[in-house]
Amino acid sequence: MTMTEREMSTITAQVNGEVVTVPEGSTILEACRRVGLDLPTLCYGPTMSAANACRVCVVELEGSRALVPSCSRKLEEGMEIRTGTERAEHSRRLVLELLGSASELDRSGDQLDSWIEDAGAEPSRFGPKAATVATAPKIEDDLYVRDYGRCILCYRCVDACGVEHQNTFAIAVAGRGFEAHISTEFDVALPDSACVYCGNCIAVCPTGALVGKVEFDMRENDTWDESRQDVTRTVCSYCGVGCNLDLHTQDEKIVKVTSPHDHDVTLGNLCIKGRFGQSYVSSGRDG
């Protein structure tokens, strides 16, 4: 392995005037991270190919007419990258405002809140008449909820269900323009679709549009409290593959199961038993 790294050719470029050298094939985002700049990303997931959908991570590239998505554009020799320029910030602010005006982003995590704040974005500035993707949550079974009023169409769920991870192809983007949305085949209910309930789409959803039923219910009832939750790393109790699990517990109950994205067995993926089948631990031991 070290031999390979040694033989691998490298690329040298500049980020905000600072010289950076990275292995060939690295993206601009990776180069930025190498110099300690963590750019916002929404549709990019470290275990997946870039979807190139959200345009939150754009940077300026000397000589390029358009801003470039840092998550997918490969670094080339001699490139001069500038981040946080007025043009890049203006674009990011607008993207965040458009996404935030159309979709509910209040379950997208603290990071998104701070990006919106840092960019000075005001999603409400389009006024109450701004078009939204608001729609009633789809609750079709006891395992998970599709709350598409929070969807920003980043495609990560589609890619995770498809070629990137699960290869089940139960969901895809249907419709065009503002009508585009994530759908099962012929828009059938999830239990009637090809879905195998691995929940690997939940694992990559950045906005909480896809969420476990237990978490959804607790959030609706205002009992979901991450400050009171512990996360315990362990190994799944079912088959012998050895998937690592993070058990999220609150009040001595498992409220969510995830797998670490940097674990090389799972890359964050699980099967239906691993993700949803551990409730027996907290269930009454009445036989």
Binding site: G242, E252, I272
Partner: protein, 538 residues
């Protein structure tokens, strides 16, 4: 294989291999995340052969599906071996330098022509030929199997027949080439590693080896019985003969998981004394004189070992309910009650004692397991990085250690023969969302759950005059049950399938046969002869 029992390869190798063989394994449903690695391999250009009586969801990803008749695996493997030899495609250098017994093997497979294989297995001769040629010619190849190979009365011979093929072609001991028995339960590998086998001490050290035993005796301060114990099928025999009258069962539900459950109930109820230690009051526990409530997964500390020999930490996330305690605490308390002054060790203390005794695990401190996200055995000392794949020594010249032996094995059809009275072959297995007897998986609500049903081919449905949902009587030579019919196009006429997950509703093990493999003790869950009769509605 050749000593320590474990899969030779790491999951990442299957992503980069040239040929994947899934033999008697429906990993898409039974090992879904391993199958993610398989799919990466397929997408990277690997070709895949699936050998399974059913056209499973795994088989649907294959380039070639070999729809073998249940229990004819040895005939198929031997024919593959013969074809490779006859076409002179074997790896001569590897055979000469690293193996022994080739001539006997070649003579042993001589009668397994492609035509004879087709006759015995139902697989077209061309498909057998193709498998032989592609496996022999592939630069790298991974051969994986599961219970479709091992739940037979000749399980060990089945495994040996497959290992012969790996030796013949040199597909073992190199990155990308290996043999992988996928483990069905979270720690079945670790249980074996730790000596939960009747003839082994931790680290696969032979209990009948005086030197090995002495090493353990010195640390344990107690004498270890010098003879191998009984595996489960021998225990059944001893119970039948009245030699075994008391049983202490930890974390098993044999009343529902063992073949021929009517016999099993008789055995368990005839015991003088039965102790069951479990996390639930299972039907087996209901028969017990003493039930010891154990803390379960998520409530205890320890390690599991996966199908790539990776030891990983298991941790407590919630407190055990009521009076339930760690297995270690219960066992220590039982020892104290018997007059031994045992102090209850922590999981880490027990592990560290084992590390002194098992060279395979010597370097696996909890701190390293934590830091490195697990380690793959063998890992003899704390500077050792763990072992990506086994048996690399077979490629050293001259090889270090003993040569890998070929074994001559013969076709030996299922014990429960098909007759006019019992014309349909029933095989059993798992479905994606459920697990074994359902003790754990029955407690969550799955939209994909298929309850206890008899899966039949639509063709058999027509000839029996039954429709989907109709209840039928299923009868084997041992028992009878009723179940609704479900049609499954992955089945061929004459082949039926039942899952093992709902013993309370449909106790499939009333039907199965407890013919068992003399070497491993595994029962022939995969091959039952049945007849199916429509239920006359009243």
């Amino acid at each position: 294989m050749f000593g320590a029992g474990g899969g030779t390869s790491s999951y990442r190798e299957i992503e980069e291999t040239d040929l994947i063989i899934m033999w008697g394994s429906n990993a898409r449903e039974a090992h879904p995340i391993f199958f993610h690695h398989v799919l990466k391999g397929v997408r990277n250009g690997a070709r895949m052969f699936v050998i399974d009586p059913r056209r499973t969801s795994t088989a649907r990803w294959a380039d070639v599906w070999l729809g073998i008749d249940v229990g004819s695996d040895i005939a198929l493997a031997n024919a593959v071996g013969r074809e490779i030899i006859h076409q002179d495609l074997q790896n001569r250098e590897f055979i000469d330098e690293a193996t022994e017994g080739f001539d006997n093997y070649a003579a042993g497979v001589e009668e397994y022509t492609l035509e004879r294989a087709e006759e015995i297995t139902g697989v077209p001769a061309e498909a057998v030929e193709r498998l032989a040629h592609e496996y022999a010619k592939a630069e790298t190849a991974q051969l994986c199997w599961t219970l479709g190979i091992t739940e037979h009365h000749n399980a060990t011979d089945n495994v040996l027949a497959l290992i012969n093929l790996a030796l013949l072609t040199g597909h073992v001991g190199r990155y990308g080439s290996g043999v992988i028995p996928l483990r069905g339960q979270n720690n079945v590998q670790g249980g074996g590693d730790m000596g939960a086998l009747p003839n082994k001490l931790p680290g696969f050290q032979d209990v009948e080896d005086d030197e090995k035993r002495a090493k353990f005796e010195a640390v344990w301060g107690a004498e270890v019985p010098p003879k191998a114990g009984k595996h489960i099928s021998l225990m059944h025999e001893a119970m039948d003969e009245g030699d075994l009258t008391a049983l202490y069962i930890i974390g098993e539900n044999p009343l529902q998981s063992e073949a021929d459950s009517t016999e099993m109930r008789r055995r368990l109820t005839n015991l003088d004394f039965l102790v069951v230690q479990d996390i639930f009051l299972t039907p087996t526990a209901e028969l017990a004189d003493v039930v010891l409530p154990a803390a379960g997964w998520g409530e205890t500390e320890g390690t599991f070992t996966s199908s790539e020999r990776r030891v990983q930490r298991v941790r407590r996330a919630v407190d055990p309910p009521g009076e339930a305690q760690d297995d270690i605490a219960i066992l220590s308390a039982v020892a104290r009650a018997m007059g031994h002054p045992w102090v209850t060790p922590t999981a880490e203390e027990a592990w560290d004692e084992m590390r002194q005794l098992s060279p395979l695990h010597g370097g696996m401190t909890y701190a390293r397991l934590e830091e490195l996200g697990g380690l793959q055995w063998p890992c003899p000392d704390v500077d050792h990085p763990g072992t990506l794949f086994l048996h690399g020594r077979l490629w050293e010249r001259p090889i270090s250690g003993r040569r890998a032996p070929f074994h001559v094995v013969e076709d030996d059809p299922p014990v429960d023969t098909l007759t006019e009275e019992f014309p349909i072959r029933l095989t059993t297995g798992r479905r994606l969302d459920s697990f074994n007897t359902g003790v754990q998986s029955g407690r969550y609500s799955s939209p994909r759950r298929i309850p206890g049903v008899l899966d039949l081919s639509p063709e058999d449905g027509v000839s029996l005059g039954v429709s989907e949902g109709d209840r039928v009587t299923v009868t084997s030579r041992r028992g009878s049950l009723q179940a609704p019919v479900r049609f499954d196009r992955s089945l061929r006429p004459g082949l039926a399938f039942m899952s093992v997950h709902f013993p309370d509703d449909v106790d499939v093990n009333v039907l199965t046969i407890d013919a068992w493999d003399p070497k491993s003790g595994t029962a022939e869950f995969k091959a039952t002869a049945i007849r199916v009769e429509p239920l006359v509605s009243v």
